[in-house]
Symmetry: C2
Amino acid sequence: MSDMSTHADAPRSPGRPRSVRADEAIVQATLDLLAEGSTIEALSIEAIAARAGVGKATIYRRWSGKDALLLDALRTLKGTPPQPSGHSIRDDLVLLVGAIGHNIDPRAAKIMPCLVPEVNRSPVHYQLYQSMVEPRRKLMRQVLQRGMRSGELRPDVDIELAMALLSGPMLMQRMLRWQPDLDDRLLPERIVDAVLDGLRVR
Amino acid sequence: MSDMSTHADAPRSPGRPRSVRADEAIVQATLDLLAEGSTIEALSIEAIAARAGVGKATIYRRWSGKDALLLDALRTLKGTPPQPSGHSIRDDLVLLVGAIGHNIDPRAAKIMPCLVPEVNRSPVHYQLYQSMVEPRRKLMRQVLQRGMRSGELRPDVDIELAMALLSGPMLMQRMLRWQPDLDDRLLPERIVDAVLDGLRVR
């Protein structure tokens, strides 16, 4: 359990049940190993158990296997998804686009770019990646559906395409700094306004 | 030079000058090593020379160093950029968006996703990546400028942002299969039409 002390931001208190502290140590150990350069492929339950200072049985009591643990660990990098307020389609989209590629844990900067080759290499890891993004994708889908119902958005909007239009530029920029001249701070609202309005003269 | 025989699509003829054949062998050796899992970091002029069956001096006679060689090698993965015909803004954008993330060399599927972590790790590799994409970005910038001059596009279009809107969704899809339900074949025209028209009712 000694590894937990290296994470100042991990919530822990001496009064919490031992099993909760063990779960946290296991998740932190998983993220530490990934941030230190372990591939998902190479990561083993043995190594995670050793790093967290627990037995393998403790991990298997809580998670069915490596992929389930990885999904939980990777989701903690991103924190809780933002909750759209429901007042304005535009503002809700700005909120959700701003959360794309945004992580609350500094280890994400080491881990997330390295997922790209792994996601391409293995169907299992592709599924893991999809499970990671789907809850956030669902929030955006709901906002777009609301906009179509209210008549603010065109009735023929392809929602899956619209999500790609809103998410792709932000993710490229956060992941690859694709366009070095774009000002990142205002980017979510600039992307949303441009996608809503279109480039063509009206 | 024996490695060249493994690339059926590499242009070679017995009548070509020895120096051209050596250049090709060097570029092919570089791509082979990357496709086999070498990181850009780990790749050495020594290893490339050995693989290509040439001396290091032969490489330095043609390229100033590893980065210049890498840039040439990575550019051959993508082939020649498509040339917009200049008749229609929309069709020219569809052509250029269709070329994003498209590679003519099968080794690209192994190499390109692995560049993401490297680009994030090193300013030199980030520069390499920017040099690789800039010629293609320039073609798209010119089409958008033409559209603004002709009055087809809004006069207040932010061209760098517009390029991110057009490129981001395509690259995400080609690199990560971000949205598994999107039909890739028609994607370039669907992206271009949606970005030109916008999601909002007019």
